[in-house]
Amino acid sequence: MTTQSRQQVIAVEDLVIEFPGEDGPTRVVDGVSLTLHRGETLGVVGESGSGKTMLSLALMALVPKPGSVRSTRMELLGKDARALDETQWCQIRGRDVGMIFQNPMTGFNPVRTIGRQISQSLQRHAGMGFNEARERVITALRDVGIPSPEQRFNAYPHEMSGGQLQRAMIALAMINRPAVLLADEPTTALDATVQAQILELMRARVEDCGLVLVTHDLGVAAQICDRVMVVRHGRIVEAGDCAEVLRAPRHEYTRALLEAAPRFTRRRLMQAPRVPTRPPLLEGRNLRVSFPVGKRQLHAVDGVDLDIWPGETVALVGESGSGKSTTALGLMGVHPLQGGDLRFAGDDVTHASGDRLKRLRRDLQMVLQNPYGSLDPRWSVRRILTEPLHAHGVGSRASREARVRELMDQVQLPVEALDRLPSSFSGGQRQRISIARALALSPRILIADEPVSALDVSIQAQIIRLLLEIQTRTGVAYMIISHDLALVHEIADRVIVLYLGRVVEQGTAQAVISAPQHPYTAALISAVPVVDDDGTRKRIVLGGEPPSPLNPPTGCPFHPRCPIAQDRCREERPPLAPTSGGSLAACFYPGEVEVDLRLSDAADG
């Protein structure tokens, strides 16, 4: 796409955004310049605190109150935007510039219908009456792929899923055919499979406007951006043609981001898959967990078989709602198992409670996903780390202190930080504390629920490396729950894929990821936005969203979304059976969907 021939829609020079603070103003954006043309997609890539969100808000004059915005030049569609007053901005917002926000769940007024909220913008800017606007909105909702848009027009936000709301948000932002579209992390709050749908949609819909895509994810940028701008601490560290920057980054920070970005590399961090020789440490058969919903039962985990061998790394993957976390909490005895058989080192622990459960927890520990929520904000690090020792009455005062110091050392945090509260640590550091706490009792299995997904990409790699180091040193086995198949490919020995609370594929990471047998696995792999994708990667974009486990489809639970479903799939449920690819898959037509991994040799880990 040539950009020169097209109309320039944004031109900003030396943009500065400041917020007043105790010790002088804080610059969140510091001297950023950018241009954007029609038909062009500019990626603004940065981690938290980079000022990328403020930057996009400034382009709409929406920077919140105490903030001040300055620039030497700011042109919007060729007009000086700095001279505009609020009334003029009101005419521009939504008409010439549209914006898509990160969290679609809170982006709509909860007590007004979606249709009304979208048609409002048409009535305002295009001077349409409600009935005329209604028709246009319904068309727009259909265009963004919302099924039965006539009915959805009258739906309230709480009646729609996150993915659908984000589609509606796109319809709203595009309804007046703006020249500029700003999208602030439009897919971050969504599942990978839904993210793939939304990115596909955005790529298709932004034909004749300029798109600014704000994201932390280079993989996302790689897929749809023409140019990228990498920002850090409010400054541009590198800018240029997207493919160019990704191929040959000049700045060290870009290189670090790139290295941390998802990709399927040939060189896996865990070299040879360890072949289990001893019996499994944890053996789960036909595990079931269900919750009452009204008068019915929601089968969150519906007959899962699962083994963990000493010292290995098992990955549990699937979309949200697939039962990954519930399975983990079932193993941990938080959600009682309604059925099945669970053994730890040969002992039956299926219905362990009281002292037996407590004893099991010395061997089986868990790290939670969100490091911001999993540490009590009022407890010092020392108290946090001694909590498990206290709970199990381990050691004396002195030996506990020694253990705590040892743990800090293991997770590479300074012992001087022991008296500080969690709030003085960054996300990555908090996750280190979380890991140290889980290790305090020297467990033999550590379950980690999305241990890095709440962290900045550059921090993710550090935490993963830490986990691997600990494994080498202590021989602990990991069960890692993740939606990031690239990460799983890198570190896991075996992979278990869950869909609607059932295992649909299981095997070595090598086999499952390079040659997935189940179409769902293939779609999950394909949904990972890898940085090595220049837009030509063949992708399988799943239609729709996971059905509710309350009414699972008949036959193969995946058939409504499956690209290769046959009549048989609608009636019969396929059993988990060995396949030619070496893994077990619950599919009548295994291995029929191929994936394009874009395997890369690059990135020396």
């Binding site: 926000f101 969290n103 007590v111 309230y156």
Partner: protein, 310 residues
């Protein structure tokens, strides 16, 4: 429809439960702690006279027997007879309840008429100048007990300015001070809640979406922030109605209002237990009905609750 029936059913069940607990509580409190026969007979009565009265009213029976027959009477809506007027207690309540209800409605209307516009205005923009002063005044008023407000109003309008009567029930003028007093119980709180709600509604994510689509402040305010904020205030009006009725007891007493509040105080002073019971039960039912109505309208107004039931 099924959901509606079950909601109403659950409500009625809890009303019955409430009444059983309340009447039981009243019965034992009143019977155990004071000897009604002594009150009925008067201070001059001889032991024989007291015993006769005891027998006449069945007060010599075991407490449990009395309790059962008391519950039986209640089921037949027989609340007993006032020892002062000789009238059935329920008739006494019926004769006065409308003065109380009318005053409560007037007080509530005034509260709403003051609080919602004032709160909406106070919450609209950051506190500066006039808003700050008025907010401070509302804060001060919230710290002023209702009966103090009443006394101040009387002092100012009846004693100093002599504009309004400070007692009585009848012409429009007699309504003004009691209504204002009653409003003063709830209006400051409601004002502050509306203001806080408007303020936080303006900070919601969806407001940013509306702004990003070109909505001007007035539109955002009237179409998004205010309706959402008032939705929350609806709930408060219901839960505070009990408080308002408590206020009306005080208000009625100060202004000599012929409602069930003055009746209650007078009956307590003269140990007229049948009337005390009847008034308390009447008030409890009123509170309950208003709570149920606001809850229902809240459910109707908020789509998140409206469809959740079906």
């Amino acid at each position: 429809m099924k959901a509606l029936v079950s909601t109403v059913g659950r409500r009625l069940a809890s009303l019955v439960l409430l009444l059983v607990v309340l009447t039981t509580l009243l019965f034992f409190l009143l019977r155990v702690t004071a000897d009604q026969a002594l009150v009925l007979a008067g201070p001059e009565a001889s032991a024989e006279q007291v015993a006769a009265i005891r027998a006449q009213y069945g007060l010599d029976r075991p407490l449990l027997t009395q309790y059962v027959s008391y519950l039986g009477d209640l089921l037949r809506l027989d609340f007993g007879t006032s020892i002062i007027s000789g009238q059935p207690a329920i008739a006494e309540v019926r004769a006065r309840i409308w003065a109380t209800v009318a005053l409560a409605i007037a007080g509530m209307m005034t509260t709403i008429a003051i609080s919602i516009p004032l709160g909406a205005w106070l919450g609209a923009r950051p506190h500066t100048g006039g808003r700050r002063t008025l907010a401070a005044f509302v804060f001060l008023l919230q710290g002023t007990p209702g009966f103090v407000v009443a006394l101040l109003l009387v002092q100012l309008f009846a004693v100093q300015l002599k504009w309004l009567p400070f007692m009585g029930y009848g012409s429009f003028a007699t309504w003004i001070l009691p209504t204002l007093t009653l409003a003063s119980f709830l209006a400051p709180k409601l004002t502050r809640v509306v203001a806080a709600n408007v303020n936080s509604a303006l900070a919601e994510d969806h407001i940013r979406t509306a702004r990003a689509n070109g909505a001007a402040f007035t539109e955002i305010y009237w179409r998004h922030a205010l309706p959402n904020a008032l939705l929350g205030a609806t709930a408060l009006i219901g839960t505070q109605f009990a408080f308002l009725l408590s206020g009306s007891v005080i208000t009625e007493m100060i202004f000599g209002w012929p409602g069930i509040g003055t009746l209650l105080i007078r009956s307590i002073q003269s140990a007229d237990f049948a009337v005390v019971q009847a008034v308390t039960i009447a008030i409890a039912i009123m509170v309950f009905v208003v709570n149920a109505l606001t809850d229902a309208s809240f459910r109707l107004l908020d789509p998140r609750l409206r469809r959740a039931g079906s």
